[in-house]
Amino acid sequence: MKERPDVTKTPVIAARDLSLTFETNDGPVHALKDVTLDIEEGEFVSFIGPSGCGKTTFLRVIADLEQPTGGTITVNGQTPRQARLARAYGYVFQAAGLLPWRTIGRNIALPLEIIGLSKEEQAEKVAQVLDLVDLSGFDKKYPWQLSGGMQQRASIARALAFDADILLMDEPFGALDEIVRDHLNEQLLALWARTGKTIGFVTHSIPEAVYLSTKIVVMSPRPGRVTDVIESSLPKERPLDIRETPEFLEIAHRVREGLRAGHSYD
């Protein structure tokens, strides 16, 4: 951790030569290999790449859910473990992962119970984030009474309620249809603009990555490496139809090229 480079603005997340190898029955799997990446405060970083390239693994290492086998990583200048214990992360998993025996409201309150907020504070916070994801009025419903999209939004609300400075999202919109997805993309951008959180976002969709991010990290598998880091030149203010502009299409094209290089086709 001492070899953190001397930059003017300290990055929130700094990975140096990060490697992670899983030992499995049929030999080691190099999920991450020599990944070096800085994420500055307030950035919106998307990770894109073919299946199995280590996107999830990288997010999990940041969140101290996986231990790297080589290299270093710091979060807010601390180890990921210290950051986790300091409750620095909100994490949205790929599936909604709501507890079926709790109502939507109580699901969202779960992390708040754990950090020991009072009942009133919990209620206030829950109402606030439910509103943010357009689910006001659904707090007494059980997860299975909601559609898949609504569940996913509830799960995002839960991560937001936790109100950590770093929000890690692993394909949160994978299961949603295009229209709902567009809508949530807009909402997420607005939220990010308002709160200034640092966001790490995994996706499979090129338009989504381009539309949302200030920085797009393209990865390739076996071993999982970063093949390209694209800084987005799009303005902070992004209406939905920015997606039909030439700049947008150009960035999308560059991402697609980067991606294609990682695939076996062509």
Binding site: R60, A63, D64, L65, R84, L85, R87, Y89, G90, Y91, F93, Q94, A95, G97, L99, P100, W101, R102, T103, L110, P111, E113, I114, I115, Y142, W144, F162
Partner: protein, 291 residues
């Protein structure tokens, strides 16, 4: 009404079928004795007399359903429940041992499951022996358990309850281990990102997740408890309880009495399982599992 038809009608049909087969089987099994008697008495039996006889013998090989029903009616409704001839009295004795054993068994099973889920050494060393323990014929060691417990001053209800616990803890362990491990890795990781304590993870995640498994195994366990209590009554000297009734009936060749004890035990088992099911439904509703 249509709900009733679609649910109850098939069951009633099957039950009616079984009762019908039962009457036929009673004829087949009891006829030899009826004929034997008739030959010795030197009379000829017509077919209808034969059937009537097979359904009304004193000690039939297989009593007809109505004979059992009559016996049960006489020994429940028509006897004071404090009377030693009342099935209610014997049922209560068995029930108390069953319930005590069930509580012991469920409690022990849950604790063991928690140990197994949270401690890998326990998982690896205990689990195989838990399975092996169920291969021991309990009836074989029941008398010894009772004598040994007697030697340390425990008698009456407790030894029976312990045998009943021995049979009932197993399904609970198996079910609870499964249940406590049922939340998927993602949910557990999620608790980690909240940096929740092990106790918080247990009470807010693992335990609620295991509730459906718990009830499924409790239903099996309560039925096993009853078997245990009955088995425990066989060697306690045929003093009281449905098991003793069974044994005494067997000792004196009173088939009707055996069957009525058996059917009462069955009804008791059905009630117990039903009650657990009811509790399950209430809990599910309150926990929001009901759909």
């Amino acid at each position: 009404m249509s709900r009733f038809l679609s649910h109850a009608l098939p069951i009633l049909t099957v039950v009616a079928l079984i009762v019908g087969l039962w009457y036929l089987a009673a004829i087949a099994l009891n006829a030899p004795w009826a004929r034997d008697q008739a030959t010795r008495a030197g009379v000829d039996l017509s077919a209808s007399e034969l059937v009537a006889d097979t359904w009304s013998q004193d000690k039939p090989k297989l009593p007809a359903p109505h004979q059992i029903a009559t016996e049960i009616w006489e020994t429940t409704a028509e006897k004071k429940i404090t009377s030693k001839r009342s099935l209610v009295y014997h049922g209560w004795i068995t029930l108390s041992a069953t319930l005590l054993g069930f509580v012991f068994g469920a409690g022990f099973g849950i604790l063991l499951a928690i140990g197994i889920v949270y401690n890998r050494a326990m998982d690896m060393s205990v689990m195989p022996w838990v399975i092996a323990s169920q291969a021991i014929p309990i009836l074989a060691i029941a008398p010894m358990i009772i004598v040994v417990l007697n030697a340390v001053g425990l008698s009456g209800l407790i030894p029976k309850a312990i045998i009943s616990m021995y049979l009932s803890f197993f399904p609970v362990v198996v079910g609870m281990v499964k249940g406590l491990r049922s939340p998927d890795a993602m949910l557990i990781d999620q608790m980690r990102t909240y940096s929740a304590s092990p106790a918080q993870t247990f009470w807010k995640l693992r335990f609620p997740s295991s509730v459906p498994y718990l009830f499924t195994s409790l239903k099996v366990a309560v039925a096993a408890s009853l078997v245990g209590a009955i088995v425990g009554e066989l060697p306690t000297g045929a003093v009281a309880g449905l098991g003793a009734r069974l044994l005494a009936g067997s000792y004196y060749g009173q088939t009707i009495q055996i069957w009525s004890a058996l059917i009462s035990a069955a009804a008791l088992a059905a009630c117990l399982v039903g009650i657990v099911g009811l509790v399950e439904r209430v809990v599910n509703k309150r926990m929001g599992f009901a759909r």
